[in-house]
C-alpha cells in the first residue's frame, strides 16, 4: 500500500488530474456561491455578448450568463458521472461475481449477454434507449448504465477467475463451509484496485456519452444548464458568438482529461508491469 | 595466432538503483579453433561479456578496454563496420531459443536472411542453403521444417535451429550462451554432441553454468565470479587441480561430487565487496583478502588464478 502511494505521488500528471477533479468537485458544490448570475435568468437585451466585465464568459442566445451556466453544469456532469459509474459498477460487479464464482451455465449466459451488449456500438445503443424512453436526465442515465455495466462485469470476473485457482488450494484443506464469505474476503480486496482504475477511467466515456446525448437534445431539458446542451445551443450562432462553442467544450475536455490522467496514473501505480517499464529508463 | 583478445574490459550499466558493475577488468585470449568455456553462476556477468563482444549492449552502457579480433579493436569500429562482423565473423547463439526466434517468421527465413545479407546470395539459393544448415544440425525433414514457424518446433529443435542460424555464414568465432539451459538430460547430451561436431573448425566461447557440458567440448575453462575471471586453465587441469576456492566450491556443488552448495549468495553487482570479491563466502579468507584485490597469477604453465593463496596484490 505504501508502495502504491509513493508510486502515485511520483506520477505528476496523475496528481494534476486529481487536483483538477478536486477543483471541479468544489466548483460543483459551491456553484451557487461562485456563480456571478442566476444561470437560468434570461436577459434578452443582452443576448450573445462576448466576454465582458459583467459577464466574464459572455452571454448565450437568451442573454444568460455563460460562466454561471458552466458552473452549474459542472454539478450535472459530475453527478451523472458518479451516479452512472456507481450503479453500473454495482450491477456489473454483482453480475460479474455470479458469473465468475458460480461458473457453468450462469457464467455462459452472462458472458453471452455481455458479448451481445458489446455487439452494439455504445453510443448508438445508448441513443436508441434514451431516445425511446424519452427526454429527461434520468432516461439518459439509465441508457448509459445499460451500456456501461459490462466493463465492470468483465473486470471482476477476471479477478475472480485468477483468484479461484489459488483459493482452491487452500479450500481443499481447511474450509468448505462459509466459502462464499471467504471468497468475498479474498477476492474483493484483490479486485478493488482494478475496479477503482476501471471506474476512474470509466468516468470519461460516461461524461462523453452524457454530454453527447444532451448535445443531441436528450437528457436535461431547458432551461437547466448542461455542457453538451450549451454547445448545441451555441451551434446556431457560431459566427456571431463563437465563445458559445468554445467554453462549454473546454469544460468538457478538461473534465474528461482530468479523469483520464487520474485513471492512467492509478493504473500505472497499481500495475507492476507498467512500473518496470518506467524503471528501464 | 590469437583470434580474440579481450584486454581490461569493463562494462558498467547506470540504473536507477546505482551503477551495475557487470564486468570488471576481464582479460581473455582465444586462439583460432580453440573452445573456451566461460563458467559461472547466474548473474556473474558472463552473458554481458558475450553481448559486449558482439556490441549488442544498450547505448548508455559504459564500456572501457579493448576487444581485439583479427587485428582490429571491435570497440573502436563504427556501427556499420561492426554489423559486418556480426553473424559473419562472430556469431552469437543467444539464450532461450523459444524467445530468441521470431514467432511470425518461418524458421528457414530466419536463417536465410543472414545468408542473403552476408553472402549476397539470391532468395532461392539462400533458402536452399538454409535447408542445408538445418540438415547439418540434424533436423529431420529439413525441407518441410524450414517452412514452419518456431512454435511448431520442440525445445531441442529450437536450440538446434539457433545453432544453425549461428553457423549459417561460417563465422570464425561462435559465442554460445547457455545452449543447454532448460533442456532435459537426453536432449542436452544431443545438443552438446552436436555442438562439438559442428564447431570443430571454429573457435567457440561456450558460456554456461553447466560444467559437465563445458567439460565435453572445451579445451580450456575460465571461471567467472562477480564480474571477473578468477581462474583459467585447461579443462582437465581445472577438474584435477582446482586452485581458487570458488572453483573448488563450484565443483563440489556438482551432483557427481556431493551437491555441496557454496554458503552465502552471489554479491550484488552494485555493491561489490571490498578486496577479493569472494572473501565473504570463502573458507580460506584471511585479513588481506578483505582489504586488497588480488592480481591474476600464472601458478603453473597455462594455469592462472586470482587469489592471495597464490598471488600478489593488484598493482
Amino acid at each position: 500500500m505504501a508502495d502504491f502511494v509513493s508510486q502515485f505521488r511520483e506520477n505528476r500528471t496523475a496528481l494534476v488530474g486529481a487536483a483538477v477533479i478536486l477543483l471541479l468537485v468544489l466548483v460543483a458544490i459551491f456553484a451557487p456561491q461562485l456563480a456571478p448570475h442566476n444561470p437560468i435568468k434570461a436577459s434578452l437585451d443582452e443576448r450573445l455578448t462576448g466576454p465582458s466585465e459583467k459577464y466574464p464568459l459572455g452571454t448565450d442566445h437568451l442573454g444568460r450568463c455563460v460562466l454561471s451556466r458552466l458552473l452549474y453544469g459542472a454539478r450535472i456532469s459530475l453527478a451523472v458521472g458518479v451516479v452512472v459509474v456507481g450503479v453500473a459498477a454495482a450491477v456489473g460487479v454483482a453480475l460479474g461475481i455470479i458469473s465468475g464464482f458460480y461458473g457453468g451455465v450462469l457464467d455462459e449466459i452472462i458472458m453471452r449477454l455481455v458479448d451481445a451488449m458489446l455487439a452494439f456500438p455504445s453510443i448508438f445503443l445508448a441513443l436508441a434507449i434514451a431516445g425511446t424512453l424519452g427526454p429527461g436526465l434520468g432516461n439518459v442515465m439509465i441508457a448509459i448504465i445499460v451500456v456501461e455495466w459490462t466493463r465492470y462485469a468483465r473486470v471482476i470476473r477476471g479477478s475472480i477467475l485468477s483468484v479461484k485457482e489459488n483459493y482452491y488450494v487452500e479450500a481443499a484443506r481447511a474450509l468448505g463451509a462459509s466459502d462464499f464469505y471467504v471468497v468475498t474476503r479474498h477476492i474483493l480486496p484483490n479486485a478493488i484496485a482494478p475496479i477503482i482504475v476501471v471506474a476512474t477511467l470509466g468516468m470519461a466515456p460516461v461524461i462523453l456519452a452524457a454530454t453527447s446525448l444532451s448535445f443531441l437534445g436528450l437528457g436535461v431539458q431547458p432551461p437547466t444548464p448542461e455542457w453538451g446542451m450549451m454547445l448545441n445551443d451555441g451551434r446556431l450562432f457560431m459566427r456571431r458568438a463563437p465563445h458559445l462553442t468554445t467554453f462549454p467544450g473546454v469544460a468538457i475536455m478538461i473534465t474528461i482529461l482530468a479523469f483520464n490522467l487520474l485513471g492512467d496514473g492509478l493504473r500505472d501505480a497499481l500495475d507492476p508491469r507498467a512500473r518496470t517499464e518506467k524503471e528501464l529508463r | 595466432m590469437t583470434l580474440l583478445g579481450v584486454r581490461n574490459l569493463r562494462v558498467h550499466f547506470p540504473t536507477e538503483e546505482g551503477l551495475v558493475k557487470a564486468v570488471n577488468t576481464v582479460d581473455l585470449e582465444m586462439k583460432g579453433r580453440e573452445k573456451l568455456g566461460l563458467i559461472g553462476e547466474t548473474g556473474c556477468g558472463k552473458t554481458v561479456l558475450g553481448m559486449c563482444i558482439m556490441r549488442l549492449l544498450q547505448p548508455n552502457t559504459e564500456v572501457a578496454g579493448e576487444i581485439w579480433y583479427k587485428g582490429r579493436d571491435l570497440l573502436r569500429l563504427s556501427e556499420g563496420e561492426m554489423r559486418k562482423v556480426r553473424g559473419r565473423e562472430i556469431a552469437m547463439i543467444l539464450q532461450n531459443p523459444a524467445t530468441s526466434l521470431n514467432p511470425v517468421l518461418r524458421v528457414g527465413e530466419q536463417i536465410a536472411e543472414a545468408i542473403r545479407l552476408h553472402q549476397g546470395l539470391d532468395k532461392r539459393t539462400a533458402w536452399a542453403r538454409a535447408v542445408e544448415e538445418l540438415e547439418a544440425v540434424k533436423i529431420a525433414s529439413a525441407e518441410e521444417r524450414a517452412k514452419e514457424y518456431p512454435h511448431q518446433f520442440s525445445g531441442g529443435m529450437q536450440e538446434r535451429a539457433m545453432i544453425a542460424m549461428g553457423l549459417a555464414c561460417d563465422p570464425a568465432l561462435i559465442i554460445a550462451d547457455e545452449p543447454t539451459k532448460g533442456l532435459d538430460v537426453k536432449i542436452k547430451m544431443q545438443v552438446v554432441r552436436l555442438l562439438k561436431e559442428v564447431v570443430r573448425e571454429k573457435a567457440m566461447l561456450f558460456i554456461t553454468h553447466d560444467l559437465g557440458a563445458a567439460a565435453e567440448i572445451c579445451d580450456r575453462i575460465a571461471v567467472m565470479y562477480a564480474g571477473e575471471i578468477v581462474e583459467c586453465a585447461e579443462t582437465s587441469e581445472i577438474f584435477r587441480n582446482p586452485l581458487h576456492p570458488y572453483t573448488q566450491g563450484f565443483l563440489n556443488s556438482l551432483p557427481s561430487r556431493g551437491l555441496k552448495p557454496i554458503p552465502g549468495v552471489s554479491p550484488s553487482l552494485i555493491d561489490i565487496p571490498s578486496g577479493c570479491r569472494f572473501h565473504q563466502r570463502c573458507d580460506c579468507a584471511t585479513e588481506i583478502c578483505e582489504e586488497e584485490h588480488s592480481e591474476m597469477v600464472e601458478v603453473k604453465e597455462g594455469h592462472f588464478v586470482r587469489c592471495f593463496l597464490f598471488g600478489e596484490k593488484d598493482a
Binding site: P121, L208, P242 | T99
Partner: protein, 318 residues
C-alpha cells in the same frame, strides 16, 4: 484453421439471438402505449379509434412473444419493419444512409492509420524524445476531446473563418470538400487511440529477445525494425481495428448531425426526434449486424497474421 473460423461463426449464433432480443425489446420500453404516444399530436390526445386501428395495423395487439417471433421471422427475410412515418420499409433509407456512413468511416480510418502507425512507431523507437512526448500529449488531448466539440471547432476555423471548406452537407454525392472536415474530426479521434496502442505494442516488441537475435545476425536497424519488429507489433493493432470501427460508428452519430452528413447516425437521430420507433429499431439492428460482421472479419484476419494461431502448436519429440 477452417475449424477455428467455423467455431467462431457458430459461437455467434447465441449472441445474435440476444442481439435480436435486445433490439426488439427497445420498442417495448417506450413509456406508455406506443400507439398512443405516436398518435398524440400537438392537437391533444389521440382519437381512441385511430389508436386502436393503428395498433392492429402494426400488430401491437398480439402477445409479446408472438410479436417477437413475427418480427424475427421478418428480419430473417430481410424485412426490418415499416416506418411509422412513411410507412415504407425501414431498410429503404437505411441502405443508402449506411453507404454514406461507410464512405465517411473509411476515409476517417485511412486518415487515422496514416497518422497513427508512423507516429506510434517513431514514438516507440525514440522513446522519451521530443517527438514521443509531443505525440503522447497530442494523443491524450485527442482522446479527451469530445468529437462533437472538435467538429464544431473545425467548422468554426476552417469553414466559417477561413472559408476553405463548406460548413456542412453532402455535396455531389459526398465529394471531397464535404468529406474533409468530418473525416478529420473522426479520423483524429481514432488516431489518438491507435497511436497509443501502436506505440505500446512497438515498445513491447522491441524488448523481445528475438530482436536482439536479429541484430546479432548483423542485420541493419532498418531491417530489424521494419521486418522483425513491425510484423509482430502490428498484430494487436489489427485486432483493435474492429473496435476502432465501432468507435467510428459511434462517432458518426454526432459528427453526421453536425455536418449534415446523411449517414446512418443522422438517420437514427432524426428518427428519434420523429419518434419513428421501427426506424430506430431498424437502424440499431443494422448497425449491430454490421459491427458483428466486421469483428468476425477482423478475427479471421488476425488468424492469418499470427502464425501461432494459424498452425496449432505441434509438440514433436526431438
Amino acid at each position: 484453421m477452417l475449424n477455428y473460423i467455423l467455431k467462431r461463426i457458430i459461437l455467434l449464433a447465441p449472441i445474435l439471438l440476444l442481439v435480436s432480443l435486445i433490439t426488439f425489446s427497445i420498442l417495448y420500453i417506450i413509456p406508455g402505449d406506443p400507439a398512443e404516444t405516436i398518435l398524440t399530436g400537438p392537437g391533444g390526445a389521440a382519437d381512441p379509434k385511430a389508436v386502436e386501428e393503428f395498433r392492429v395495423k402494426m400488430g401491437l395487439d398480439r402477445p409479446l412473444h408472438i410479436q417477437y417471433l413475427k418480427w424475427l421471422n421478418n428480419v430473417l427475410h430481410g424485412n426490418f419493419g415499416y416506418s411509422y412515418m412513411t410507412e415504407q420499409p425501414v431498410l429503404d433509407p437505411i441502405l443508402p444512409a449506411f453507404r454514406a456512413t461507410l464512405k465517411l468511416a473509411v476515409a476517417s480510418m485511412i486518415l487515422s492509420l496514416l497518422i497513427s502507425i508512423p507516429v506510434g512507431i517513431i514514438s516507440a523507437i525514440k522513446q522519451y524524445s521530443l517527438i514521443d512526448n509531443l505525440s503522447m500529449t497530442g494523443a491524450l488531448l485527442g482522446v479527451s476531446m469530445p468529437n462533437f466539440w472538435q467538429g464544431l471547432l473545425l467548422i468554426l476555423l476552417f469553414a466559417v473563418y477561413l472559408g476553405w471548406f463548406p460548413v456542412a452537407g453532402y455535396g455531389e454525392n459526398g465529394d471531397f470538400e464535404h468529406l474533409v472536415l468530418p473525416a478529420i474530426t473522426l479520423g483524429t479521434s481514432s488516431a489518438a487511440i491507435t497511436t497509443r496502442l501502436m506505440r505500446s505494442s512497438m515498445l513491447e516488441t522491441i524488448r523481445q529477445d528475438y530482436i536482439q537475435a536479429a541484430r546479432a545476425k548483423g542485420l541493419s536497424e532498418r531491417v530489424v525494425i521494419g521486418k522483425h519488429a513491425l510484423k509482430n507489433a502490428l498484430i494487436p493493432v489489427v485486432t483493435v481495428a474492429g473496435l476502432n470501427f465501432g468507435y467510428l460508428l459511434d462517432g458518426s452519430v454526432v459528427v453526421e448531425t453536425i455536418f449534415a452528413w446523411p449517414g446512418i447516425g443522422k438517420l437514427m437521430v432524426g428518427s428519434i426526434y420523429m419518434r419513428d420507433y421501427p426506424m430506430i429499431q431498424g437502424c440499431i439492428l443494422f448497425v449491430a449486424l454490421v459491427y458483428v460482421a466486421v469483428n468476425l472479419v477482423v478475427d479471421i484476419l488476425y488468424t492469418f497474421l499470427d502464425p501461432r494461431i494459424r498452425y496449432e502448436t505441434k509438440a514433436k519429440a526431438k
